[in-house]
Symmetry: C2
Subunit: 125 residues, 2 copies
DNA sequence: TGATTTAATAGTAATAGTTACTGATAGCGA
DNA sequence: TCGCTATCAGTAACTATTACTATTAAATCA
């Protein structure tokens, strides 16, 4: 994997973000530093960095994928009102398949959906 | 909610499928019974039936949504080789957010990815 | 039962997220 | 420094899904 300015920029943006940015958001932030960078480059590098294990891809159906600097498996919560994605602890730690599963496990995604505390309070008012 | 032939057909197809069909697959099966049914109708009814709690929507990022006759929360495994989605038991039962989460929880999706036993055996050969 | 209301339909167009393509550029090994 | 080729910018294409519109048909009611 070549060490290009574009790839390092994309990587730095994810590593300095704590808000689980989507490709779109990474693109907007990247353009501030490198105005001619293209969307395709951002997508390609996010995918490659995730494949290389340098960042983590959070797959969110019915929404765009997000990218996370935190590498270890952990659950996420997505607020359907504000769209924010936050880390969340689960009671049993990381879920694992019970005995009896005989395939090859490669990824685990735990996604909770609902309304975050902030938006719930705002809805009350 | 009106009781249309199209809606009952879509519902019956999901209830008689154990392979977690996507909207596309439901559409193909529906056309065999009702050739003039449209894709939009299938999508609309799957969404409405899921909202009404009569079927369950399985959200699979980087792939189309699937639909399940089983209503209670349970984890799924998706094989990246053959694309099949199967039910899977987890060691700790259903994951729940740890104490400290103060939002409103509405959905839980646990998705494992990897290679199923069949495809793994085939890759060996 | 037949008229009326309106949710739902078929068919089509549009949207969003993402990937593919193409000629030009630049990282890196020799 | 030269040459190879991965990567780039820009654009087109693709896929899953939703939106739109005129038409149809459930359900309500006289």
């Amino acid at each position: 994997m070549r060490n290009t300015l574009q790839r390092e920029l994309v990587y730095d943006i994810v590593m300095n973000s704590s808000d689980h940015p989507s490709a779109d958001v990474v693109y907007e932030r990247a353009r501030r530093m490198m105005p001619r960078i293209s969307m395709g480059t951002v997508y390609r590098n996010l995918k490659q960095l995730a494949e290389a294990g340098r960042i983590r891809e959070i797959r969110i159906s019915d929404d765009s994928n997000r990218y996370d600097k935190t590498l270890h498996t952990h659950a996420h919560f997505r607020c359907r009102v504000c769209g924010r994605v936050t880390d969340i602890e689960t009671e049993c730690g990381a879920a694992v398949p019970a005995n009896g599963f005989s395939g090859k496990l490669e990824s685990t995604d735990i996604l909770f959906g609902g309304v975050c505390a902030d938006c719930a309070a705002r809805e009350e008012a």
